[in-house]
Symmetry: C2
Subunit: 382 residues, 2 copies
């Protein structure tokens, strides 16, 4: 079975590596260079998008910001999962908020802004501070403002207007202002829905971000009540979208109540721990779902932490000497802040996981790998 | 890091899939066609053995029957692991027996035969029945005779002579006669030794053979005393060979005492369960060892069974609906009896593993997948 992935980065690569054993061959379409490549060997195939769409048994995507014409070609094939609608929701916060409202899944109070009067109204209605995010672009903390005091409103507005003005009639730009709610932490749920509507959901993951980018995830420390909230949100949203494949939902945990922060219609960085912590990884389960194979177990096998490798030219080999530690290298050219790889470490229990993270912390400089040391202490003390 | 594997079958393929995430790129040299190929995509590279040996960071092999000239080219590079000597021992039972004697590791009483007088002597000394095996060829039950009564000796000798006569002065042929010892079952140990001589050993695996070919393995049901015997044998043999990489040893279990049946200087079919049952699979650990990376944990994470797929054109998709079940397809053209893939199933305990094998038995016809049903019953009753 051939599967075509839109996007040729590490997610396509890991989908390929996680499904070859099922008899699935993956090619990736790089939407920037318009080239078809093997996402593992990076070899360029001299074929076109249309040829590969024709050949594919199923088509999917590893990111949301895909040109309309590419989405259309894939959608018309009838074998594109989770499909153009779900993907466009992941790439547009205004559509995302509308979905949340329809599915009655809670998020922070928000206002949609396309002109200055709506901005002024949002400040009055929601109150300060506000988090302001572009709807049609921006990821990993880019395209965002924080408005803390009214006197900065003019300055922020001028920057917002710059973004709104770059929209077109066919593709208008909008901005979301959200009430900044003090949250205890960020968590996410990764789940998979098959073509018959059956869902399986992984255990909730606690995520740490640094400068808006995920740096560390831990799975296996959550209580049943909060897991149930996340699963309900997953099932509501996935069924509202008639979703097929892996869907990720990021939440703010506000005193035990989950508010959706963001939806990603794809495998997600906060689910990389599933490669070692679950029997079936998010990558394999996504491929199983979109090709109509039975979806696999999403239960936790062992508590597992994931540490992102950002901008580093390599992963220290010594991390492999820590028990039950695996490094994942994406084979990309190093650039500052770029996601280059990740490290998964598993353990029999949370205390042992803390000890293993403490070993890792000695090998990984705090400035490059923030939070590893602190997290290890917290797990050991608990 | 580039690694070249001699042999381009499923073992090379799984070594590639198990080490890409470590930043290792694998190519395979098909010794029959003399082509360099990617063992995952089967794409032919238009390079020579010598060029790839030059480019490789490390070189290894997926089987033992490799032409002398190829072994020499690799050995001379100084980066060939486990190296020509270990590989030749795996391909020659007379060398294997000499190694066992040197390392003081027990095996069944045997005699080396190169002429008729030695054959007659062996019958007298060892007694009947005898298992007679060619030393320089034969695998999966091929190249073997069983001598049960003295009156068949002439007939068997004429066939043995046929093999002995095909030897040359440079590469003489020989035959081993072994006393046929009634054994309770066959087990094997897979272990890994790094460049510093540090060993890690997986839990003992119980193996079932049908017509001389492995059909089913189970890991996670052995007692400490028998594990200790197998580990001692591994460490003696691996250190005697100054071995680097994964080494497999097959044993007969004779009333709790292990006698070596065969040694394989490579990853081994009876270790395929490690893909799902251990944190670091035999494939990843072999690649870690030969590239000088720290070797990973060999502890059992969960009891796991492996079922071989022999000669079938595909694996029934329904097996993926059994909890914690994974199929591994090698992408080869189907031929009767050919190893086409395998199925791994894991569980929290042996009873649950039995239940899951019972589910599999309903999907897998007994004639194509012998032993699955019987093994499931035995595990459930225990």
């Amino acid at each position: 079975m051939k599967v075509l992935v839109l996007g040729a980065g590490q997610l396509a690569r890991m989908m390929s590596l996680a499904s070859t054993h099922l008899g699935i061959d993956v090619l990736a379409y790089d939407v920037s260079s318009k080239q078809v490549i093997n996402p593992v060997t990076f070899e360029v195939k001299h074929t076109t998008l249309e040829q590969e769409v024709e050949q594919a048994y199923a088509i999917t995507a590893e990111f949301e910001h895909i040109p309309e014409d590419v989405l259309n070609v894939c959608q018309q094939s009838g074998k594109f999962y989770p499909g153009a609608e779900s993907i466009s929701i992941g790439g547009d916060r205004s559509k995302e908020k509308a979905l949340l409202d329809n599915a009655k899944v809670p998020c922070a109070p928000y206002a949609l802004i396309t002109e200055k009067s709506a901005f002024i109204e949002a400040i009055e209605k929601l109150g300060l501070p506000l988090v302001i995010k572009t709807c049609q672009a921006g990821y990993d903390g880019k395209g965002q403002w924080r408005l803390k005091s009214a006197e900065d409103a003019e300055q922020v507005w001028s920057e917002m207007k710059g973004f709104l003005d770059t929209g077109t009639e066919a593709a208008p730009h909008s901005i979301i202002a959200e009430k900044m709610i003090p949250f205890d932490r960020e968590v996410s749920i990764i789940g998979v829905r098959d073509k018959d509507g059956k869902c399986k959901v992984y255990p909730l993951t606690e995520n740490q971000h640094t400068n808006g980018v995920l740096t560390l995830s831990i799975a296996g420390k959550e209580k049943a009540a909060i897991q149930a909230q996340a699963e309900a949100a997953f099932e509501n949203l996935a069924s509202e979208l008639n979703y097929v494949g892996v869907l990720a939902i990021e939440f703010f945990d506000v005193d035990g109540k989950l508010l959706v922060n963001e939806i990603a219609p794809r495998v997600h960085n906060s689910g990389h721990w599933t490669q070692q912590g679950a029997h079936t990884s998010q990558f394999e389960n996504h491929m199983r779902a979109i090709t109509g194979l039975p979806i696999g177990s999403t239960q936790l096998v062992r508590p597992t932490a994931m540490v992102n490798v950002l901008g580093q030219p390599s992963i220290p080999q010594a991390v492999l000497s820590v028990a039950d530690c695996t490094s994942h290298w994406y084979g990309k050219e190093a650039k500052p802040g770029r996601k280059m790889g990740h490290i998964n470490v598993s353990a029999a229990n949370l205390h042992q996981l803390g000890e293993r993270l403490a070993e890792l912390a000695e090998m990984l400089p705090e400035e490059d790998y923030p939070g590893v040391s602190e997290t290890s202490h917290a797990l050991i003390l608990n």
